[in-house]
């Protein structure tokens, strides 16, 4: 496994006139890591990737790859490969010519190109399509061709800009798994941009969550899921997203709809907070908050209930046994460790 592909973003700013696209972005990526840049559209994740690729330059700050400052280097000098959302296959070249193009540009001897191209194509299972042109390929095949073009050169960084978003749902799930296997087997450092939190959760070793041009949290998917840093991240990650309701905190407890829930926080005193509980962490029954079932959505093996708790909406995911009916009244409870508390002013995590 190569120890190449270490990335450092140091104090990166990007402005377009008055508009600040990136606000002091800092992160490090370790060699061999699968790193996701996750965030809603317009949050700066794509800009970050483009700056890393050398397609855009930061307004301020430095980019290091393998310890070397590449901030002012052209894309062509960086030895990075990229899969574009649109794939950007060269329509006038065959699949084989597309894949061999980066090798030609790297001045690889002709005799070595053909085997390298075949090898890359085989890794993504398109070796039977080498003579076709992109226009004659299905969407999934085009995506694989773009992947092959990116891996053939064994670049030190492998950048992916929403590479699965143009595939249909079933193919997306399959490709996701293969992509992860491919990255593992090649031992490449991958940087993956997506707005789909599920993709980031399943693929990434670590991820950076972008909100409005800033990184709000960096961590493993488990960490980000278990301990979201802010209300925005809490609301962005998880499906259905975390329930976030205004509540009153007092001496270690939080009051929701008049009912007391224990929390892990110890601090004394009283304040307004936003309490977050994941839909899957809410339990039905027992001595809990009484609430009415407004709507039941059956999803097959699970069901999602919309509950009315004193005018606020709370969604609960339950297993598909003993699902209450619409109009029923249920009691809900949650374990202290499943209750997340956020400052309602700063929107940051308290506990």
């Amino acid at each position: 496994m190569s120890a190449r592909g270490q990335v450092v973003f140091k104090d990166i700013w990007k402005k377009h006139g008055e508009f600040v696209a990136l606000k002091n972005v800092n992160f490090e990526i370790e060699p061999g890591e699968f790193f996701a840049l996750l965030g809603p559209s317009g949050s700066g994740k794509s800009t970050t990737l483009r700056i890393l690729a050398g397609l855009d330059a930061p307004t301020a700050g430095q980019v290091f790859i393998d310890g070397k400052d590449v901030t002012g280097a052209d894309a062509a000098e960086r030895d990075v490969a990229m899969v574009f959302q649109s794939y950007a296959l060269y329509p006038h070249m065959t699949v084989a010519e597309n894949i061999s193009f980066p090798l030609e540009m790297a001045k690889m001897p002709k005799a070595e190109i053909a085997p390298a191209v075949f090898d890359a194509a085989r890794k993504v299972k398109i070796e039977h399509l080498l003579d076709r042109r992109p226009g004659q390929l299905s969407g999934g095949q085009q995506q694989r061709c773009a992947l092959a073009r990116a891996i053939v050169r064994k670049a030190r960084l492998f950048l992916l800009d929403e590479p699965l978003s143009n595939l249909d749902a079933k193919l997306r799930l399959e490709t996701r798994v293969e992509l992860k296997k491919l990255q593992r087997s090649l031992g490449m450092t991958a940087v993956y941009v997506t707005h789909d939190q599920e993709e980031a959760m399943t693929l990434a070793d670590r991820m950076a969550v972008f909100m409005a041009g800033e990184i709000q949290q960096i961590g493993t998917p488990e960490e980000v899921f278990a301990k979201p840093n802010s209300i925005d991240i809490a609301g962005f990650i998880g499906n259905p997203p975390m329930n976030l309701v205004q509540a009153k905190y007092q001496d270690g407890d939080v009051f929701l709809g008049g009912h007391k829930f224990e929390t892990t926080m110890q601090a004394a005193g009283s304040r307004d907070v936003v309490a977050g509980i994941r839909p899957g962490a809410i339990r039905l029954g027992g001595d809990g908050l009484q609430s009415r079932v407004d709507l039941v959505e059956h999803l097959g093996d699970t069901a999602v209930l919309d509950l009315d708790i004193g005018g606020a909406l709370m969604r609960v995911r339950v297993s598909d046994e003993n699902v209450p009916k619409e109009g029923d009244t249920v009691a809900i409870t949650a374990r202290p460790q499943d209750i997340h508390l956020f400052d309602s002013q700063t929107r940051m995590r308290l506990s």
Binding site: D11, K15, G17, A57, A60, Q62, G72
Partner: protein
Amino acid sequence: MASAGNTAATDVAGVAYSDFGHVLAQRERRFATLLLAPAFLALLATTTFPLLFLIYTSAYRMDLSMPFLNGFVGLENYKVLLSDDRFWHSLVVSLVYTISTVILQVIVGLALALFVMNMKRGQGWFRVIAILPVVLSPAVVGMIWRTFMLAPEFGIIDYLAISAGLGSKNWLGDPFLAMVSVVVIHTWQWTPFAFMVLLASLASLPEDIYEAARIDRASAWQRFRRITLPLLRPAIVMVIIMRTMVALTAFAAIFTVTGGGPGTATEILNLYAYRKSFTELSIGYGSALAVALLIVTVIISAILFAIRRGK
């Protein structure tokens, strides 16, 4: 990109960074300059330089036939021009020629486009035949009309006139008929242009608004007045602008058919400038006429563009 860079270096946490956006932009600019420079220089040499030189020569007396009289005359050529009846006459001929041909092209072209649009079969014939006139050299078109169409007792038009009992006419020898002839020839050659542009524009109008109008009980005429015409307006204005510019500087067809004659009956300003410069060899005065033509062109196009921008 560049403007963002200038401010960023100071206001980011007080730390001075070099802005690499600037560097990338500079590289891109250099590449653009490299690509543009040859064409830009060629255009400078073949358009801008002649324009400046033209203005320069228009301030000189420059007679190739009498070089001993050559010299700087300042605005003399323009003074002469303003009291030159032949100039004013050619300007009027230019305007008559331009206005009549443009109006005819638009009306006939629009009528044909509407007609063909509603045809169920045979559209292809019109589309192919419309291409022929517009790709031909106006000089060849002029030659064909001058001879095979209009030559007395030989041309088909004259034959038709005789057959219709009007008798043989000297189509290109009579001042009025000559003017009509050159207008008809220009209209013949360029109406297919208006036709093709307007047909393409018509074909791009959505079908469903007509169905909606039909349901609203609009008559065919109302549909044309209230829907087709307003939607077609940008295309019509574009056709008018383009055809006006071309008609003002038309040369080959008139040169071939009448040479500006009989006398100066069909001598548009463009042709007058040419004749003065290259037939009478008064380059200086010819230059002044060409400048006048440029001014007229600019004024008319300014008016037309104002109309286009306005309602």
